[in-house]
Symmetry: C2
Subunit: 258 residues, 2 copies
């Protein structure tokens, strides 16, 4: 049997488990707030078209509005000015081969509980590799912080007068993941692949700037990362095919060995 039919067989028999890494889209799910001088993204809203009634006797359905960066979503290189000139840098032109990739999950839940401004460093990841093995090329690096378990919206957004306080990667770690590990992208449980306070750094939003400036991707608002192994999960993360879309809400699914 081929690898594909063996894969299908193990899925059918439950030897491969499926974990949904997606938050539910609803009007209550918090969206990114930027300083007021900037354009803002729409939260999710829906409007019933019919519900087995005179507007449609046999069917129920809804219209909705949101942004490319609402809920659990994918960031494409064209989202950032540093990635604007790559070919195939939008969700409709990224090669679909890139929607399936291995994941490394780095557990920083204890550190993030102690310090909401926790920054992932090269040192931390080198210690992680000593235990779990080297990050293979073309892996997603997913930051487990258990942020998805915090109370919505206040503790999740965690805003103070000086802006949001949420964990993320240090600038040096982002560059290292690209140069030394050739990663596919960076994914987080919080609203922003960058740390909440990074808007005020010398290089603002370095995960956006450097990842997209090197044609890599981002995933935000993930959940259930605590159900994944440190290595070995395969992630399906296929954004909507929005013409020249900068990103997209999507369903992120992980395949996990039994």
């Amino acid at each position: 049997t081929s690898a594909l039919s063996q894969f299908a067989l193990e899925l059918a028999t439950g030897q491969i488990r499926i974990v949904d890494l997606t938050q539910t889209l609803s009007p209550e799910f918090p969206s990114l707030q930027l300083p007021p001088q900037f354009g803002q993204c729409w939260p999710f809203r829906m409007e019933e078209i019919s519900r087995y009634d005179e507007r449609g006797p046999a069917w129920y359905w809804n219209n909705f509005s949101m942004s490319e960066h609402t809920g659990t979503h994918f960031d494409a290189p064209v989202h950032w000015v540093s990635g604007k000139d790559f070919p195939n840098n939008a969700v409709d032109t990224i090669p679909p081969e890139n929607f399936v990739a291995h994941a490394c999950v780095i557990d920083c839940s204890r550190e993030a509980a102690e310090n909401p401004d926790f920054l992932l460093t090269v040192e931390f990841v080198e210690r992680w590799e000593a235990t779990h093995g080297r990050i293979p090329a073309r892996s997603w690096v997913l930051l487990r912080t258990d942020w998805s378990k915090r109370a919505m919206p206040d503790e999740y957004v965690n805003a103070r007068e000086d802006g949001p306080h949420t964990p993320g990667p240090a600038q040096g770690l982002v560059q290292w993941l690209i140069d030394e590990r050739d990663v596919f992208g960076f994914g987080v449980e919080s609203i922003n692949t960058d740390a909440g306070q990074s808007f005020a750094w010398d290089m603002p939003f370095p995960c956006h700037y450097l990842m997209h400036g090197n044609n890599r991707y981002g995933l935000q608002c993930l959940t259930n990362l605590d159900q994944l192994p440190a290595q070995g999960a395969i992630i399906f993360a296929a954004p909507l095919k929005i013409r020249n879309g900068s990103g997209s809400p999507l369903r992120v699914i992980a395949l996990v060995p039994g």
Copy 2:
């Protein structure tokens, strides 16, 4: 090596090919038109939030609106009155195991070119099985009509004074696929899993009524079905996790043995 790592290896080396079955979301993509007394779904619209300008100096992104049934999309059982009482019948509650499944692709492109009202029958599928083998339980049945290659929007919608003329399944075939083959769902290239003229049948929209009334799914507006084998492709079709959503635009990806 496990089936999952063998699968990942074959993906990386191109022994498993990826085919994108999704149409591009844009304002020009036609959406379903119902008789005027009924509620209507929104076509895709987008509005730029910023593009590396004063609205957002380093970033480009968009807000958008559409319906759960705009573009390439998934139909959940709750979409139809016959499926409204099943547990886990909406896109946010369907078990994610159901987002990965085998596909059988039935080529009716010649028949549909000759007759836009072509109906797939039990007889036709039995002849197909004699050549390609029996439809395995829990497969998607995908109707290849090459409808996705027709000129947009007029030839694709193919409306006349008496409504749309597009191919689809006969009522008897739908019941047979459920009872005799235990299929997972039915997918098409046209805007409607049901034939264009089926609104006027004794049982209107039988594919919607019977598939959803038996807790099965639908896929509409697919493309590239001509790149799939008759059997053996694995389909990833994971809808957005819209709270109590009746369906969802999505990226549909097929994995095909090299």
